[in-house]
């Protein structure tokens, strides 16, 4: 059967299960857009290609399927770059299709020619330059397989315009042949035995739950492991939702803005069980004093993560769910009453400092707002965020019971991620309630996608935490630069009017007694709704591990009695 390269692309993409594509047309991908009209895919026209990459990413994170983004050559492709880097850092499976100039023009600085495979080489799991139509079927099959298997990640295919137009014989490759790509599955038995020995000896164990649990679908087996061995579970930022927040063994989030009792448990542990996490500097503090008394078992599918930041005692390289399923029947049951009691004491001390226990002061605190949102939605919404203070408060106070409902740019820390990823998540789950909690700074980076939200009728609720500051940078300047504020005070537009200009209902909320009603209004109104909250301008996220400090050297919020005295 003869087909054009562009038709072959869609034949293959549809077979990969793609139903939604996020993109932007241009000169170098017009044949692809023309052929698309004959295929059963829903195309979401974005307002900036960065939005397309974040939407594909949000779609992937919320659904577990591969997200797909498209852009034309040159600036279209380079606009994807921030989104691709974000997906790379957070191991999110997306496939990006970019148009490229004619193969015979490559290297000649043709109009809108950019070396896209060169630019994206270090920020993709793999990428391809396709110069002939007969390569497309094989490349697309490989790209989707690579994106979703092993440690997932972004794959980019740059397709020359002539390859889109050429007519060749089409046959769908039934299997992918990649001799150099064999993601591991089981871990060696000898290594499992070593791990069992460490688990048997442990008195103060902690599970470090990472996003690998979600990627591998290991939520249930992780819970079985924790219960059987009576091991408390601390989560990374992206691991939130991997273990139920309400579970008695949950320690909540670890790291720079993690729960104090979670960080104290890690620092005092005698065994760390790292499940699909990578010892990022934001969760370890300085490595010199990290968990000094702990042996470490590290389970990860990516061998290059082993010993990368922290030297581990027993590496188990394999698929997390497979490894834990192998390990579980070999395990005895354990009990650590003294350890659990110690952690309980740390937790009680932390609760006394929690801002949730502070009296109402007539002002809007982001933590209180997130708590109100959590109560109103029964903790069941899909929540996306931007990056900064609001992100940390949302991580701290939107308690997640279920996986794949927390979408946040962790590794890359990409501002502007919140709104587009929420639109992507909604397109993956039309029936779910989707909220994006954003700051005034990050929201303005991708607010053009409001128009996309309207165009798609996306039922996405936007909560802007407006403090007229780039809050996290302001906090650092307050703590570490003697409060010399430099370029952090930000006048903002009237967000409600911006919403109205898009035909989006909006509400401005300035006092605590309006909060519940505003959230109820947003939930009851179909389609996108924007709430702007004028929050306390200068408030700090606590606890905080300063950069370069040990994980248990946290700046803490003063306890209430003390604060009232001062």
């Amino acid at each position: 059967m003869k087909k054009t390269g562009a038709e072959i692309l869609w034949e293959c993409v549809v077979r990969e299960g793609v139903e939604v594509v996020f993109g932007y047309p241009g000169g170098a991908n017009m044949p692809i857009y023309d052929a698309m009209l004959s295929y059963p895919v829903h195309h979401v026209l974005v307002r900036h290609e960065q939005g397309a990459a974040h939407m594909a990413d949000g779609y992937a994170r919320a659904s577990g399927k591969v997200g797909m983004a498209m852009a034309t050559s040159g600036p279209g492709a380079t606009n994807l770059v921030t989104g691709i880097a974000t997906a790379m850092m957070d191991s999110s499976p997306i496939v990006c299709i970019t148009g490229q100039v004619h193969a015979h023009l490559i290297g000649g600085d043709a109009f809108q020619e950019t070396d896209v495979t060169g630019i994206t080489l270090p920020i993709t799991k793999h990428n391809y330059l396709v110069t002939h139509a007969d390569e497309i079927a094989e490349v697309v099959a490989e790209a989707f397989y690579i994106a979703r298997s092993g440690r997932p990640g972004p794959v980019l295919i740059d397709i020359c315009k002539n390859a889109q137009i050429e007519v060749v014989e089409f046959s769908y490759p039934e299997e992918v042949k990649l001799p150099g790509y064999q993601p591991p599955s089981h871990a060696p038995k000898a290594d499992l035995k070593q791990a069992l020995e460490l688990i048997r000896k442990a008195r103060r164990p902690v599970v470090l739950a990472g996003q690998g649990i979600l990627m591998s679908g290991a939520e249930e087996v992780t819970q079985q492991f924790a219960v059987k061995t009576n091991t408390p579970v601390a989560m990374t930022l992206l691991g939130l939702g991997a273990f139920p927040a309400s579970h008695e063994l949950s320690l909540g989030m670890m790291g720079m803005h993690g729960e104090a009792h979670s960080n104290l448990a890690i620092q005092n542990a005698d065994l760390l069980l790292a499940f699909g996490m990578r010892f990022d500097d934001r969760v370890t503090g300085t490595l010199n004093t990290y968990a000094p008394g702990a042996k470490i078992i590290h389970i990860d599918i990516d061998p290059s993560e082993i010993h990368k930041n922290v030297k581990v005692d027993v590496p188990l390289v394999g698929d997390l769910k497979t490894v834990l399923t192998d390990l579980l029947p070999m395990l005895d049951e354990y009990d650590h009453p003294e350890w659990m009691q110690q952690i309980g004491e740390w937790k009680a001390e932390g609760d006394a400092r929690s801002i949730m226990s502070w009296p109402e002061d007539g002002k809007l605190h982001v933590s209180h707002l997130v708590h109100a949102l959590w109560e109103a939605t029964g903790g069941g919404a899909i929540v996306t965020t931007d990056v900064g203070q609001h992100q940390m408060w949302t991580a701290q106070y939107y308690f997640l019971e279920k996986p794949k409902r927390w979408l946040s740019s962790g590794g890359a820390g990409t501002m502007g991620f919140g709104l587009p990823s929420a639109i992507g998540a909604w397109l993956a789950n039309n029936n779910e309630e989707v909220w994006t909690v954003v700051g005034d700074g990050g929201f303005q980076m991708t607010q053009a996608e409001l128009a996309t939200a309207v165009q798609e009728g996306a039922n996405v609720k936007i909560a802007i935490m407006n403090n007229n500051f780039l809050g996290m940078v302001r906090q650092w300047q307050e703590f570490f630069f003697e409060k010399r504020y430099s370029a952090v005070n930000m006048p903002t537009p009237d967000f409600v009017k911006i919403a109205e200009a898009h035909g989006i209902p909006g509400r401005l909320v300035t006092s605590p007694d309006e909060v519940q009603e505003a959230i109820a209004f947003a939930r009851a109104t179909p389609g996108p709704v924007l709430l702007e909250f004028r929050v306390v301008q200068e408030e700090a996220v606590y606890p905080m591990v300063p950069a370069g400090a040990a994980l248990d050297e946290m700046l803490r919020r003063p306890v209430r009695a003390q604060a009232e005295k001062e």
């Binding site: 150099g180 591991p184 871990a187 060696p188 000898a190 990368k308």
Partner: protein, 185 residues
């Protein structure tokens, strides 16, 4: 310490760039890199010499190489019985009277003169890095005008093979019987 790694890679455009980019991106240091065809069509072989503090750093390089989709196999031959060779072409300033002196020096190192010009000769030397360094030191006082070296290539002796620290590499380091259940999916 110097580590010598052998990587088998798919012979496709851009693979050398991927390997070089990886070394730059991860801040690994390449002492030398030699690439060429192998006995199998479509497969190229790289010999990479790199400076690492210890085996853990060598593991990091191997693991990152292995992550590249086009890299089929990675072995560490540093401590394995192996033959390593470097080839050098050295153009030495030589009057007709000096030629015999250079010829004698070359003979000691089993090198040979492959080109003679009125005021220079080209010496071709093959051997371990040490041997070539030794010869270069002796030729330097005479006057080296130009030098080119291929970088090391390496091959293990007999049935020896390099150490593979990563699972799945070419199916070689992957011994299913050692794993919890055979027939990994």
């Amino acid at each position: 310490m110097q580590y010598t790694l052998i990587a088998l890679v798919e012979d496709k455009p851009g693979v050398l760039n991927r390997v070089a980019s990886l070394f730059r991106r991860r801040n690994f240091n390449i002492e030398s890199l030699a690439v060429g065809r192998t006995e199998k069509t479509g497969v190229s072989r790289m010999t990479i010499v790199t400076n690492c503090e210890n085996d853990i750093d060598a593991h990091k390089i191997e693991a990152n190489l292995y992550k590249l989709v086009n890299v089929i196999d990675v072995q560490d031959v540093t401590r394995q019985p192996s033959v390593t060779r470097d080839l050098a072409l050295i153009k030495v300033k030589a009057t007709p009277e000096q030629r015999s002196e250079i010829n004698n020096l070359a003979a000691i190192f089993r090198a040979r003169i492959v080109d003679v010009a009125p005021d220079s000769v080209i010496v071709e030397a093959t051997g371990t890095e040490d041997k070539i360094e030794g010869m270069v030191e002796l030729l330097r006082p005479i006057g080296i005008m130009e030098m080119v070296r291929t970088g090391q290539v390496a091959m293990t002796r007999g049935e020896h093979s390099g150490i593979r620290r990563n699972p799945g590499a070419n199916g070689n380091g992957w011994h299913p019987e050692e794993y919890a259940s055979a027939g990994a999916d």
